[in-house]
Subunit: 335 residues, 2 copies
């Protein structure tokens, strides 16, 4: 149907070219009984549980990287935001801002990847939009996704449920996504076998959201583990102590961080969960996570304590240092 | 709190700079009891009517133009998509992709404008996201909005309800937005007093969605009136006849179109409704619209007829010509 190998401005004009682009890529990959690419808005079948809403924009560069791509990342990002709130993803919206000149085949792969990830998460794309901007006014492709979830957790996780003596858990090693994306950029002249952890955490959260002693969950994306710890400290006014020796970091991540001067605790993850739970519940969370793919390396990494609302790293050598809030950051378009 | 006059990459990194940006602009303008800028997702109070979902990305250039700006346009676009489906807007999401170097004051004005338009439409912003991309990878600011509406129309408008003999109406002059935005771009070397029609059509749709003989509504944005006519022809397999002498086009729009070689029927509107109704209902729709601000110039512009699924323009001179589907279009970033 289409003769072009690259996206043209005319693919965004509302006319025949746009209709063909939507038919050949978006409607084809995302087809489901709800999606009507001719409609302005779609009526949603009612949910039994409470509706939960979230949105995220995705600008990662490069568009494809070891372990993932913009398409699946966009689904995982939104699905994970719902999952850590105790919700199952049901309906997604997909808005694409395409830069003139993007290869047709690249767009096709990314939207196919988006569709696959959505199916795996049990969510359907209910509606979408495409715009084309001139060359030099975009980043190849930006995707923005909104997600409507259905609340499943009986007592939804919330920072306000966190108490003194609670323990911090993480479902797997931190920093993989940040380093994998960085290494995939040519300017660093590095390469390695490290893959992004980009993945849905739905199975992990679903396995534990019936536990009343599970107080809080968050996916440590931009700003990483340290930023989640700061969010907890700000919201609760408690101190957060992270135990350096217990935080799982892959050797490859540690090496690149030492080489380039990064701290892995500030690097983005895209398939991890940080949880805060009562000590007895924490044991049960770990037991369940260890039995699940992606949770094998889950571990206890810290605790909530009375005192100042700050984040402290108990170092491997027995010392303590403050983990400051992230200030400047030389890594744009990490997600 | 902030010392900068322009947006930096660090304003998108998840750390302190981002928190300050969100606090100083987004949380300040968009504040409402539901919005928690620290949360990943938000639980929505249940709606009585069925939920309706839509999304749109907005890339208009320039960011501010006579009669509107990107902020209010983004609200109107999504509100109008819900309104023509017979729904009241309830919850919005707001995702901002900001280009490094955008002036802080510009962003502040645009988000203030977004907030004002949302309040006027009776919708609250439930959640949001901000990303910052490098200079040369964006267009100043791109906004993507998803909207959750509540279905109010008893018999929701749908192209499948359109029948032979139905009448086409438009709520006001066409092409204002397309020409106003074009004139606001320096490269045309033209200026004028023409303003975009960017506005919520909610009052217009709300006034008529109880009428059983109202079969279909659509806001003629990208691709304009002619593209809506083609959508009707494709969906119904009926012919659509537009009467040139009856289609309201402002003199200024006609002049610029003649000068630059555009056809006003393909130009974007951002505050108009095209409706299809039974003849008797059409009279009632016009009566109600004429009494409302923005509906004073509403008029009957065509009809649905048996025969080929095509769009015909009955010219002022008594002839007929086919209005082809929009092909190429030299006007990116019109919305």
């Amino acid at each position: 149907m289409h003769q072009e190998t690259r996206i043209l401005l005319a693919h965004g004009n509302g006319g025949r070219f746009m209709r063909e682009l939507i038919g050949a890529i978006f409607a084809r990959h995302l087809a489901n009984p709800l999606l009507d690419t001719d409609a302005d808005a779609v009526r949603l079948p009612p949910l039994r549980g409470q509706s939960v809403l979230t949105t995220d924009g995705f600008t990662v560069q490069p568009l494809e990287f070891p372990g993932g791509d913009l398409g699946s990342l966009a689904v995982h990002g939104v699905v994970n935001d719902l999952a850590v709130c105790g919700a199952e993803p049901r309906y997604l919206t997909l808005s694409a801002i395409i830069e003139e000149g993007l290869e047709w085949a690249t767009l096709d792969r990314l939207i196919a990847s988006f569709a696959r990830a959505a199916r795996e998460a049990g969510a359907v794309v209910a509606c979408g939009d495409t715009k084309v901007v001139r060359h030099g006014e975009g980043g190849g492709l930006y995707l923005t996704v909104a997600g409507v979830g259905e609340l499943m957790a009986q007592t939804p996780p919330s920072p306000h449920r966190i108490g003194e003596g609670d323990v911090l858990l993480v479902s797997g090693p931190v920093g993989d996504h940040g380093i994998a994306v960085m290494l995939a950029r040519e300017q660093f002249g590095l390469s390695g076998s490290l893959k992004s952890d980009s993945a849905s955490v739905l199975a992990l959260t679903r396995a534990v959201w019936d536990l009343p002693g599970l107080h809080f969950m968050r996916d440590p994306t931009r700003g990483g583990l340290a930023t989640v710890a700061h969010e907890i400290a700000r919201a609760t006014r408690f101190g957060v102590v992270l135990e350096q020796a217990r935080i799982p970091v892959r050797d490859a991540v540690t090496s690149v961080c030492e080489m380039l001067g990064y701290d892995p605790y500030y690097l983005a993850c895209e398939g991890r969960v940080v949880a805060v739970a009562r000590p007895d519940t924490a044991d049960e969370v770990l037991r369940r996570w260890h039995a699940l793919p992606g949770g094998e390396l889950a571990t206890r990494i810290g605790r909530i304590e009375a005192g100042k609302a700050r984040v402290t790293l108990a170092t491997a050598l027995g010392g303590r240092r403050l983990l400051e809030e992230l200030e400047d950051d030389p890594l744009p378009r990490i997600c």
